[in-house]
Chain length 290, copies 2
Amino acid sequence: MRVSLKTVLTLTTLFFISACGADDAADSMWRKLPLNNTVLLTLPHGKVVIELAPQFSPKNTAQFSKLTQQGFYDGTKFYRVIDGFVAQAGPKDGSKKDLSVPILAMEADFKVAKDWAYTPVQQQGLFAQQTGFKDGFAIAYQQGKSPNSGKAWLTHCPGTIAMARNNAADSASSHFYIVIGQAPRYLDRIMTIYGRVVHGMQHVQAIQRTAVIEGEYAVDHRDFTEIVSMQLMSDVAKAEQIHIEVENTESKAFAERLVKRRNRDSAFFYNKPPPVLDVCQIPIRSRIVK
Amino acid sequence: MRVSLKTVLTLTTLFFISACGADDAADSMWRKLPLNNTVLLTLPHGKVVIELAPQFSPKNTAQFSKLTQQGFYDGTKFYRVIDGFVAQAGPKDGSKKDLSVPILAMEADFKVAKDWAYTPVQQQGLFAQQTGFKDGFAIAYQQGKSPNSGKAWLTHCPGTIAMARNNAADSASSHFYIVIGQAPRYLDRIMTIYGRVVHGMQHVQAIQRTAVIEGEYAVDHRDFTEIVSMQLMSDVAKAEQIHIEVENTESKAFAERLVKRRNRDSAFFYNKPPPVLDVCQIPIRSRIVK
């Protein structure tokens, strides 16, 4: 299905409305990550930086931050790593350490006010009425029956970090996974996403896979990738801190980039693709500022 | 947008029609890859197996196979590796080796007969009227204006291998890329896909990234990941051959698995996701048989 020109024009207009409707942040192309809202995950083969999302998943973020500050994750392993899907870590299932952590309630989506502002990306996707970005996070939005009953949620894009759980909705505690493959959007709204990788995703991609194909030797648990340490960046020794700025998805510059990305005006596109955007296929830039 | 129950039922029916309409292959859950249609890509850190697609892109596959048999790719490097996007390799641009290879015509899509059979996955996606599988490859299909003028094409899913090119449609020769991130579907129909990784994708994911974020040290070209060797599996010494079977996407078992995957009947799904499937988010199983 090709999206009609009308839809594209509507979206183009929306971008600018959104950009204009945002606050002063719209003037700045970059947004600095607060150190106490940023996590340094040190793997044996590289450093990974994660931005937390307390504004979307306050309770899960708070528990993850607290555990991180206690050194809870240091020495735990990525015990379920499936290529193209997720890398999952946590303490040994059913261990004293595992059972010591309080169970969390699901924070899968949230009600939003009628005037809730975000940067729209795509209408009428298969998984959501609308996708977009808010504070650098890929989101989806669904209008409710009454005019003021919209809901939004963080979507499962590559690099997303979320709480793992058992079958019950409210059964997460400390185990988490990072998406390392094609967005498993079918997990949207039934898992609590609370952050995203903003630096070092290639090191997450290099985590030892634990699920092997039939006919291969099984991976020994001693070869599982270990978390050397997980720290809030604000707790890291100053000389070792990584200061990151990410693209401000509320900025005019970003909205303009989306329009360009949709239109594909480069000569490379000798045949134009459909003017649509997959919210999980839009790289959000980041840079080290120190 | 939720797909209506009617659509789901229609698709469910289609699965079985397709499975029944296929040939004897439908009885077998596994399909053995012919060794002369399979490539062994040896990286410094692991072995990767690629299935070629001569039935879809005969000329590009033939040239790639010929170059492979000549040892053309041995010692070349992955010089453009962007996390979440592609890992691209080939000889030095403009070098004698580079210029020695004939230019290829694009094989981006192909006409199909009215009775062309494939295993349907999803209708009314944003990038195509219909997606599905054919011979293990993710495909998309678009009905033409006249009843017998449908077109199909291979889609850019993770693990896809395609010819790189310059701006002109017919400008590919030997450079290729493997998709390592969220499906860049906007490249569909303007690039020649001619294979897919069926084993060792984690080693492709571990290729040294060459594009770095701002503020990082640039990657020295001496650190680029080298292709130790690229060989047709039929040319590999017998003891070193890897025999692979892949899931037969024309089988009844596969069609049933698609239905289950769409329905998400497990207790884990305490809230059911929309009954839709992303053709690039369906792992096609493979196994080593020797």
